[in-house]
Symmetry: C2
Subunit: 378 residues, 2 copies
Amino acid sequence: MKIKIDRHLLLTQLSYISKAIPSKTPLPALMGIKFVVSEEGLYLTTSDSDITINTFLPLEVNDTQVIQIDSIGSIIIPGKYFIEIIKKLNGDIIEISTFEGHYVIIKCGRSEYTLNGLDVSEYPNIELIKHDNPIHLEKQLLKTIIRQTVFSTAHIENRPVLTGVNFRYDADELMCIATDSYRLSKKVIPLNKLHEPFNIVIPGRSLIELSKILDDSHDAIDVYLAHNQVLFQIGNISFQSRLLDGEYPETKDFVPTTFGIEIKANYHELYEAFDRAALIARDQESKVVKLNILPNENKMLITANYPAIGKVEEEVQVEMISGGELRIACSALFILDALKAINKSSVIMSFNGDMYPFILRDQYDETTIQLIVPIRTE
Amino acid sequence: MKIKIDRHLLLTQLSYISKAIPSKTPLPALMGIKFVVSEEGLYLTTSDSDITINTFLPLEVNDTQVIQIDSIGSIIIPGKYFIEIIKKLNGDIIEISTFEGHYVIIKCGRSEYTLNGLDVSEYPNIELIKHDNPIHLEKQLLKTIIRQTVFSTAHIENRPVLTGVNFRYDADELMCIATDSYRLSKKVIPLNKLHEPFNIVIPGRSLIELSKILDDSHDAIDVYLAHNQVLFQIGNISFQSRLLDGEYPETKDFVPTTFGIEIKANYHELYEAFDRAALIARDQESKVVKLNILPNENKMLITANYPAIGKVEEEVQVEMISGGELRIACSALFILDALKAINKSSVIMSFNGDMYPFILRDQYDETTIQLIVPIRTE
């Protein structure tokens, strides 16, 4: 194998596939990048067993030759080192060749690296699950779903299924839910004739890495479902993730639909007030604060008290308030996470009393709710 | 005590004094900021025992009132919390007052904090050593001295005096030296009538923190020396550090003055070549690389070999070369550190054989040398 390749385009490909190079693995080949040059172009593959990413770079991009092939071939290249080297080389064109079947030689300017490679036969055989019946999804919609739900997944794996986001389609709407059982994010989008019904759980980490690959363009992407895998096809990038086993809990009864007390307030005012109150919160893990809704005074107080340090009172002027007075305690960090997932407009907070979950939502977005379970205090 | 104060100017003062707030201390008062309001303005003091910083903000800055005093007074305010609060408050003017002698109340917009303070009598009595005979030093010169030497100080304290930079004045010149015994940075500046002779060692950490306070203006600063302390007066900021005890080693015989082999090369070419070679260096702590100077071919080769991963060869075209062939091994990290302390111009590297220390210097700066001890290899 011997090619000359545009360094900047190679770097872009590497930035996609780097997300699936494991830092540790029992299988040394997985620390490498499967580098395959065919007559059509360059295929790169990485996999950490959970996520597999494959990219294709054709010989020409926008009518400009970006790969010049002297001879085709393939090899596994040490991933971490290869990426650092390509980043630091000084030049637009890099020559990459193999030597004696298991050495990779990288030349650029007056630099020459020889890396120990492995034969591609040592790379595990990972099948990409492409088939004839993909789901077409808008890139920006998928990115928004991930941003508005994934932070609510559980981090501790005593219930593994909760570390993922549940995607459920029933022929009318797509419902996406994440919960760690202390909070819940839910997005429901009306979508007709998307696909036959499905109910899958995609690992949160996979979605976070996928999200980094989704740029801000408005193209559609293709999503392929198989028994225990999902594949997202984004242009020339294939991003495949395993699915989580197990039944995702039914959360319908958990999410209230009627509320006795509601306020509407400005996003920035709310965010900054909770952010400042969190500074003095006693429990530095969850940053517990108390809310005090005072309909007669048309305001909400946020207070925190950390006897060793001091206390804080933040007053939020509300744009609308309905229902009676309420005192409720909750994690300021959960509130801040929920607010970050809301567009920067007016926020509605809806309550049913100090013992019941409450929700936050964007006034102008009916599709998404953020639910938080209050904390019981003395 | 009760004042109204410009939030942005208070933040600037806090950014100076924050550098001496210890993260741990047996004396709780030192976790606080000594906050003293007098008829003239606001004095802030912090100290971590090694470093003491004191700032003064007058009532008016550029003919604009920045502090409005209702009543003078003083208190110790929890440092870390106070700074975070002032940063996050939303408003230009903050009201700060004391309550029952040991509470601090901070009001801004619709936010109100009450922090537990301490009486200033609990703050240790730290005397600032100002006297009538300061040294006048240019701010930029001091900043350059620190930048070009402090990285060579020792980090491990088995010889505490090496964790500092030696400043030595003998009526003709100021000599500044740092060494961890594997490398040495030396700057010698001709300076007449600066002060009577002195020979002190300032802790490296103090200089690093001081350097962050030295902005890019060209004002002079006053340096006050006392038995075991040094004080830098920078406008309204007093920065005092303890000095290190012990005799600083004599390094004259350690630094060669004549050399058998010299090369001159472009700063960027050298830096990038060493940076790339370091990627494959076996010992990831010191990143050992080998230099091979080839006068007949008018070039230097930098090679590294990490059998588990691969090897690299970088070729550097030199602008000038004199003397015979040389092979020498050294830490690429030390070379990169030394290069960072050199202005981005032509660099001269001077050698006396593979067993002897070599030096790097800026072609246009005779005042500074960076010395590196080679590594013996098999």
